[in-house]
């Protein structure tokens, strides 16, 4: 029995690792369509990774061990996050190891490491990127926490599996606070994953870039790991969103037969597809903000989350 | 030949005399005059003490009367006189407050003193009970004089006048303090005056004047 759960856990992680680049590719494709460009193929990210893995790593002379270990740490944290988030099923042995708050901590760790690595070489752009990344971080975290707070107040638990279980228990629960939270969450997701309107994943215009600026010194397999990690991050965030707001289909409430699992996989794919399209739509519709508009943007997210919280406290006083 | 009965009123007369002299001191400008007035005060004090001694038949009061005569009527005025002539400080410069005001304040003080001592003077068993208020008035007036005068010397005279008031209070309220104390007080007074004498010369050789406004250097600035 326990064995099964471990297998499922492992499978979920592998699946996440496998399809994360696909999700990124899908978004890119949708964007291309919407901006009626000829789209790259879905597997473009995989080709990219393969190419990078084969290249020789060009490393700056003064790069310290910290710089070289960071990609692995980054990758490791994201994979662990994937293991914790119930994307397919709730009875995950790993999920107990960390609740949502620990998850935020995990993302923070990744952020700190990548920023430190960016400062390691001591180039102008690296430090610039690190600074901006950390700034986005401390602006986004309160909003994210408030979003999670909403969910916690509903279910009385910070463990994501329990959340999902709770939703399964009352299937058709409609709580207006969640609507606010959902919007806030999407905004945070965009900011955290270096998407428009905060950052542009495809730009290389030095003065505007944030995330890319930190990766300038990486090449070959290190770069590959980092890119993979960031696509995993996007995937993880999407899964958190699903778990918080649209947990339908996730194998929960003891339904853990293979049928349920297959259903769950199908549901996940569907959600990803929709979510990807939606993201692409948002990105195509909105323009990139000046870096110092970011606080206002994230403050809005925070405000929405808090509103949701208050609404819940008002209604939740039942 | 005064009878014991008539002593009480007589004492009151003398007390009023003291009070009068104190007022006169407040108004006088010439140091010489002040000294003379001070001597007069001493004389009246001597008389009153003798009367009290006579009436109460306390021999020790005669001693203190004699002490007064020697000290306050003869010795101190003489010393002060010598000082003045040595230091050539006959004239006192302007008082800090003009004299009519001082007089008014003095009047208020007298009323205050009387009012203050009325309740307690009735307790006194002595025939001189009502003079306690006068004594206090004399003290306060002397105090006022010290405040309003500018010359070191006049301040000293004020100080001595205050001692007179105290002495008078002692005799009138309680037929005088025990002899030991009297002697002690007298001794202190004498030493004090000698020290003052030394001072005057030192001050003079330092500031070549006895004007107090020279002695205003030590202050918070």
């Amino acid at each position: 029995m326990r064995g099964i759960t471990f297998v499922r856990q492992f499978g979920e992680v592998v699946l996440a690792i496998a399809i994360a680049p696909l999700f990124a590719g899908w978004i890119a494709q949708c964007r291309a369509w919407m901006q009626n460009r000829s789209a790259p193929s879905l597997v473009q990210p995989y080709r990219m990774l393969r190419k990078l893995f084969q290249k020789d790593a060009a490393l700056a002379k003064n790069a310290s061990p910290l710089f070289r270990t960071t990609p692995y740490v980054l990758f490791g944290t994201m994979v662990l996050a994937a293991a914790i988030i119930p994307s397919l099923a709730t009875d995950l042995p790993f999920a107990r190891a960390a609740d949502a708050i620990a998850l935020i901590g995990l993302f923070a760790t990744a952020r700190v490491f990548v920023s430190l690595a960016a400062m390691d070489i001591g180039t102008a752009f690296g430090t610039l990127g690190a600074r901006r990344e950390m700034m986005i971080g401390f602006l986004a975290e309160p909003a994210l926490l408030m979003v999670l707070f909403n969910a916690f107040l509903l279910s009385g638990s910070t463990a994501l599996p329990s959340l999902v279980e709770f939703y399964n228990a009352h299937r058709f629960l409609i709580d207006p606070s969640l609507a606010f939270a959902a919007i806030a969450f999407v905004m945070v997701l965009l900011a955290e994953n270096a998407r428009i309107p905060i950052d542009n994943p495809t730009t290389h215009l030095e003065l505007t870039m944030i995330h890319e600026a930190m990766l300038l010194e990486y090449s070959a397999r290190h770069l590959a790991l980092v890119e993979w990690a960031s696509s995993l991050k996007l995937f993880n965030y999407a899964c958190i969103g699903f778990a918080l707001f649209i947990p339908w289909g996730i194998a929960a409430g003891g339904r853990n037969g293979s049928a349920a699992t297959l259903l769950a996989i199908a549901a996940l794919m569907g959600k990803l597809a929709v979510a990807g399209a939606a993201l692409a739509l948002i990105e195509s519709l909105s323009a990139k903000l000046r870096i110092f508009r970011a606080p206002e943007y994230l403050a809005t997210a925070f405000l929405l989350a808090v509103l949701g919280l208050l609404v819940h406290l008002q209604i939740g006083a039942r | 030949m005064v009878t014991r009965a008539s002593i009480g009123p007589l004492l009151n007369v003398l007390a009023s005399g003291l009070l009068l002299i104190s007022f006169a001191m407040l108004s006088r400008r010439r140091t010489q005059r002040l000294i003379i007035l001070f001597a007069w005060q001493g004389a009246i004090l001597f008389l009153s003490t003798c009367l009290v001694a006579y009436s109460s038949g306390l021999t020790e009061l005669y001693y203190s009367a004699a002490l007064t005569l020697i000290l306050k009527v003869i010795l101190l005025p003489w010393i002060l006189h010598r000082l003045i002539s040595k230091l050539g400080a006959q004239w006192d410069s302007e008082t800090l407050v003009n004299i009519p005001t001082t007089m008014l304040v003095g009047l208020v003080l007298v009323i205050f003193a009387f009012g203050l001592t009325q309740p307690i003077s009735t307790l006194a068993t002595t025939i001189t009970r009502h003079t306690l208020g006068m004594a206090l008035a004399v003290i306060l007036l002397a105090f006022l004089m010290m405040i309003t005068r500018r010359k070191a010397l006049t301040q000293v005279i004020g100080f001595l006048a205050m001692e007179n008031g105290l002495f008078f209070a002692a005799t009138s309220a309680t037929y005088g303090m025990p002899m030991v104390i009297e002697l002690g007080i007298a001794l202190d007074l004498l030493v004090g005056v000698f020290i003052l004498g030394i001072f005057f010369f030192q001050i003079r050789e330092q500031f070549d004047s006895l004007d107090l406004h020279h002695l205003e250097a030590l202050k918070e600035d």
Binding site: - | I120, V180, I181, G184, E220
Partner: protein, 483 residues
């Protein structure tokens, strides 16, 4: 017997030094007499510990637990000050600010002053108490003006006039007291001024008279205590007199004057009740503490600074006596002790510091630890002690006073808080740069006698951490006496 020794030795010393005060060995003689007095005082203490309070000399003199400890303290500080003054005055002589004749005057007056204070402490007769206080004033006047500079003359003059007038008020108070006592005790046997007798019948004394008398006592002796706003003579006299004189003025004379006030308070309270006197004392105390603290803020002269600090501390002690009760009185007595020990030691170091720097102006004194570590650390530790930093004894008394005040009279604590805080900033902000930092002063020509400093500080330190039971018992008895 011991009492006569305690009174007689300084007198003898005064006479002897008046004759030989100009000789080379005069300072040693001074020390010798002070030592003898200390020994006599010690004997007296032993006697009181064994046989309890006693009255002698046709009841003219008496010793109880209250004044005997002040006698011991006075004798001790007098002795250490004599030790200190030996090298100090020599250096002054070398600097040419004094000649041997002045030294003679200084030495004999010093002993006379001690004698006067012992008389004031030991006499049972309120009249004699007054005489002694006056004598103490007269003897110190000449000491203050010892340097014959304009400043010292002015200081001495103000000291003389203000204290003289004040003392005159006290005399009127004494007369009133006698006047009241005569009603009950009568003139016979001259008992009407004996404190013990008065204390016995204080319940029957006429309240109205004693009320007036207390006012005159308070203004009179309070002037000598240095209670604001009667304090004006104090900083001048402390700053302009020779340092040993400042030390004994601050360390001893103020205590003795306060002793006189408290003796009167005890009598008056017996007649008119506790409320009025304690209110007056508390008000005066707070006023002095606060004004003293604020005065500290803008001082330039080091000795003036600590003069004002004496005003502040006398205020605190007076306030404590005003609080009354076993704890507060205990604390007040303790504070008297530690204050005189600490303050005198501070004056010792301050004197040497200004000698080393060649000026009393604090801007001229810098980096003492560099010049002479002992002086520097002495000044630093002394100031910290006087500012009420544990583990020094001043803290323990302030602790008791504050904590008691918080219980009994919470309204007063904000004022005390302000006073202590302002005083801390005022003094420490000036002491720190004097002790620390760079310096350019020369070492002294004569090796300074800093043993007294560290002895005093050590005693204060011990009092902060451990109080010998005998001493504690002693304080308790005195506190009970004061009520």
């Amino acid at each position: 017997m011991e009492i006569l020794l305690v009174l007689g030795l300084p007198l003898l010393g005064a006479v002897t030094l008046a004759l030989f005060g100009a000789r080379r060995f005069a300072p040693e003689l001074n020390v010798g007499f002070s030592l003898a007095t200390l020994a006599a005082a010690a004997l007296l203490v032993l006697r009181v510990i064994h046989y309890g309070p006693m009255l002698i000399g046709r009841e003219q003199f008496f010793v109880d637990s209250f004044n005997v400890f002040l006698v011991a303290l006075t004798a001790f500080v007098g002795f250490t000050t004599a030790i200190f003054s030996r090298p100090y005055m020599r250096i002054e002589e070398l600097h040419g600010s004094l000649n041997s004749l002045r030294l003679r005057l200084y030495h004999s007056m010093y002993q006379l002053f001690m004698a006067a204070m012992f008389l004031a402490l030991l006499t049972n007769n309120m009249g004699l108490l007054w005489v002694a206080m006056e004598a103490a004033t007269l003897s110190t006047v000449l000491l203050v003006s010892l340097y014959r500079t304009k400043a010292s003359l002015e200081a001495a003059w103000k000291y003389f006039i203000l204290c003289g007038v004040g003392i005159a008020q006290a005399l009127f108070g004494t007369i009133l007291l006698y006047f009241a006592a005569e009603q009950t005790l009568g003139r016979e046997g001259m008992t009407a001024l004996l404190w013990t007798h008065l204390n016995a019948v204080k319940g029957h004394l006429e309240p109205r008279v004693l009320g007036l008398a207390f006012v005159f006592f308070l203004v009179g002796y309070g002037t000598k205590v240095g209670l604001a706003p009667l304090h004006n003579w104090l900083p001048d006299a402390h700053a302009e007199g020779p340092t040993p004189v400042s030390a004994v003025l601050s360390g001893l004379l103020l205590n003795v004057a306060l002793y006189a006030v408290i003796r009167c308070k005890v009598l008056v309270e017996g007649s008119i009740g506790v409320l009025l006197p304690s209110r007056m004392l508390m008000t005066f105390g707070l006023l002095s503490a606060i004004l003293g603290a604020f005065f500290l803020w803008r001082q330039r002269d080091i000795k003036r600074l600590f003069g004002y600090s004496s005003i502040e501390h006398m205020g605190i002690i007076t306030f404590a006596f005003g609080l009354g009760g076993p704890v507060a009185n205990f604390a007040a007595l303790l504070h008297m002790t530690v204050h005189s020990l600490t303050k005198s030691s501070i004056f010792f170091t301050a004197g040497h510091a200004s000698q080393a720097a060649g000026t009393q102006n604090m801007d001229g004194i810098r980096g003492l630890v560099g010049v002479s570590p002992t002086i520097g650390w002495g000044l630093m530790l002394g100031s910290l002690a006087i500012l009420g930093m544990p583990p020094f004894g001043v803290f323990s008394s302030e602790f008791l006073i504050l904590i008691t005040a918080m219980r009994g009279h919470p309204w007063a604590t904000p004022f005390l808080l302000i006073a202590l805080g302002v005083a801390f900033a005022g003094i420490f902000g000036k002491v720190q740069p004097m002790v620390f930092g760079e310096s350019d002063a020369q070492p002294l020509p004569h090796s300074p006698a800093l043993v007294p400093v560290f002895v005093h500080l050590a005693m204060v330190l011990v009092l902060g951490l451990y109080m010998p039971p005998a001493l504690a018992e002693w304080y308790r008895a005195a506190a009970r006496l004061i009520g």
